[in-house]
Amino acid sequence: MLSGGDQSVERIVPRSGFTMTLTLAAAAAMAFLAVFVAAVAGGADRLADAWEDSLTGTATVRAPVALGDGDALAQALGQVLDQTPGIETRRRIGTDEQAALLSPWFGDEIPLDLLNLPVLIEVTLTDEGPDAEELTDRLRAVSPEAVYDDHGQWQAPVQAAASRLRLLALTSLLVIGLITAAVLALAANASLAANGRIIDVLRLVGASDRFITRLFVRRFAVRAAAGAAIGSLIGLLAVLAVPAPDAATGAPGVGFSGAGWSWPFIVPVLAAIIAYGATRAAAARRLRDIS
């Protein structure tokens, strides 16, 4: 009924006015925040995933050596590992390789013999992995100070931080949604009040409440969606401008992955739905008050 590109009907409620500007600006600001918050959560997720990917499936065996007998010890430990179910491959990280890892801290001229580097064996695990306690016992039978490190102590806090951030982001999004609804309801109320005379005239010529409500609801939903689209776009550009997270350095990042990319496109739709609901409620209340 209101479709068919009927411009006259669209013109009944004035396009200009501070409530329209307020709706546009508020929707844009809230959409920007929503996209940004979602990107922070997405970045935390990505970082946690990257950490997990690099950490799971591998473990390290470390044992200190008295001068000289490193090779023998490595061989003995290797035998233990070979007899352990759950260990897929093993590879000794030689002193040269360890030196390379240490060079960023100590420079190229490391006195290897003075540092007394431990035996380091990197292992890859099967999906089930070994029984860490039992393996540690058997390794210690070979070398009392041997350590089996499956990076478990790193993963737990990363996971905890990521899920905490996800919860925070969700709460923020909820708050953003509520504030948006409140601001839009306020704007709709102000607009209904400012256009009270028009509403009176419309009712006098036989407009139903549904017709009047639809005029305002449409205007506000379209405004809110437009504002949110602008805000989302700016938010998206801002997110893209932040460097990607890096698991190796642990640098935090913002961004989306997979389905998260649809978020900037969902936000304007959500804004329209919020505007629709808020305006409808405001109009229903207003129209009930005028007899």
Binding site: M1, D6, S8, V9, R11, I12, P14, R197, I198, D200, V201, L202, R203, L204, V205, G206, A207, S208, D209, R210, F211, L287
Partner: protein
């Protein structure tokens, strides 16, 4: 078409009129007269359901108004053309759009109604003013635009509240002439005016009856005008 039965209205504790009855049969022409403040506008408002009576019954097209919900009231208003005393335009819409307003709110085909709108505007002598804003019209022009809007949906009943309120004698005759034309087309007309000379002028040309509101009562005026 419109029936009031023993209706009473008061604002606060000040009664406007009490136990007034009125029956407008189809195709009739009634003038409603009486001094300023007698309650002419109030009576018309009862007829297009802008006010409910404190007591008594109002029926439109045979339907008791008390039973109607808000949507029912809206639907009935689309079947009654009203020229309001203060015209009631949407000021940022053009005269043409204001005349089309009843079509818009009834969900009708606005593009198709544009031809009717143009015909009506030229019928009331306002073809030149279609694109102007209502605020840019003279008093008489506003009244005529309001009349055009009142009849765009081709209602069976037309209620006019002082349609000649602020226009000169010649324009008054012209506007009343338009109402007479509508009555000849079979429309039921109720026209409130305090201008007795206007009524005398028109009465000879139609079968119009004159109702008089005075001190809270409605009476049929005869030769004592």
């Amino acid at each position: 078409m419109i029936e009031l039965e023993d209706v009473s209205v008061s604002y606060g504790d000040r009664p406007v009129f009490g136990d007034v009855s009125l029956n407008l049969p189809q195709g009739s022409f009634h003038f409603l007269t009486g001094p300023s403040g007698a309650g002419k506008t109030t009576l018309l408002r009862l007829c297009y359901l802008a006010r409910r009576p404190d007591r008594g019954r109002v029926s439109l097209f045979g339907e008791p108004a008390a039973a109607l919900d808000r949507d029912g009231v809206s639907a009935l208003r689309r079947r009654v053309g009203v020229v309001h005393q203060d015209c009631q335009f949407v000021d940022h819409l053009s005269v043409a759009e204001n005349v089309l307003l009843p079509v818009m709110v009834s969900g009708g085909d606005v593009a198709a109604a544009e031809a009717d709108m143009k015909d009506l505007l030229s019928w009331v002598g306002l073809d030149h003013a279609a694109e102007r804003l209502p605020t840019e019209l003279s008093g008489g022009e506003r009244q005529r635009a309001a009349l055009a809007r009142a009849v765009i949906l081709s209602p069976d009943v037309i209620l006019a509240d002082e349609p000649t309120g602020n226009v000169d004698w010649e324009m008054s005759l012209r506007i009343i002439g338009l109402l007479v034309e509508l009555n000849k087309l079979g429309k039921t007309i109720l026209c409130a005016t305090h201008d007795l000379s206007l009524i005398r002028q028109v009465k000879s040309r139609t079968s119009a009856r004159v109702l008089r509101l005075r001190s809270g009562a409605l009476e049929l005026a005869g030769s004592d005008l």
